[in-house]
């Protein structure tokens, strides 16, 4: 049930949730993330994002920039969270889980209301909004609302 102080063998970056948890999560995340980043670089070359002598450097920069995010993404997918140092055994029964559930439910309502409001304004004014900005806005509103609501719940205790 509990881990006695000083006996916690869990690590900062945890272990994988498969292969019996024998592999450190980073041992999977780093090579897999790098491979995916090389793939992104190859796609950049293939789709002709940059031409001529700039094509290879641009693909390299794309791969380099994406590599950190992709390694992080793979790590988040493969890590067994219970193997992280300081992780609690029953996160779903902790109050933080309740805060997050309430924050996400509230953020969903906020997103629906704001999207509806913006849609009404756009349809009345005839303003044209690029779909890329619109979808990005929906994402930002959702994340921001969740973040603020979680902090408010935490402050209320």
């Amino acid at each position: 049930m509990s881990v006695e102080p000083g006996t916690d063998s869990r690590t900062r970056w945890g272990r994988t949730r498969f292969a019996g948890g024998r592999l450190p999560a980073l041992a999977v995340a780093v090579p897999a993330g790098l491979l995916l980043a090389i793939g992104v670089g190859a796609i950049t070359l293939w789709t002709g994002v940059a031409h001529g002598e700039h094509a290879v450097p641009v693909a390299g920069v794309f791969a380099l920039v994406m590599s950190w995010g992709l390694m992080g993404l793979v790590w988040a997918l493969v890590v067994d969270r219970s193997s992280l140092r300081g992780a609690i055994d029953k996160p779903d029964e902790s109050i933080e889980s309740t805060w997050l559930d309430a924050a996400m439910a509230g953020a969903f309502r906020d997103t629906i209301m704001l999207t509806g409001l913006v849609l009404a304004i756009i349809s009345i004014t005839g303003f044209e909004l690029d779909v890329l900005w619109a979808l990005s806005g929906v994402l930002v509103v959702g994340f921001f609302s969740t973040f603020v609501r979680y902090l408010m719940a935490k402050k209320r205790g």
Binding site: S2, D89, K90, G157
Partner: protein
């Protein structure tokens, strides 16, 4: 919900972190239960009763809000 968590924990000389580790939850969860701001799930209530060696209804009193002050 009123409860006697704080009194029972202090009787045993346990810190909130010690109790949280024994229950497998965060320290903030213990703080919120003691203040009566968070009602634990049934499995967590059973673990609390087991940790303190008593029945659930000896720990929690559904007739009032907030932590027991006595």
């Amino acid at each position: 919900m009123k409860n006697s968590l704080n009194e029972r924990r202090q009787e045993r000389g346990w810190s909130q972190q010690h109790l949280a580790d024994a229950l497998g939850v965060s320290r903030q969860t213990v703080i919120s239960i003691e203040r009566g701001r968070f009602d634990p799930s049934l499995p967590l209530a059973f673990r609390l009763a087991e940790v303190f060696g008593c029945r659930i209804d000896e720990l929690f009193d559904p007739r009032g809000d907030g932590a027991q002050s006595s």
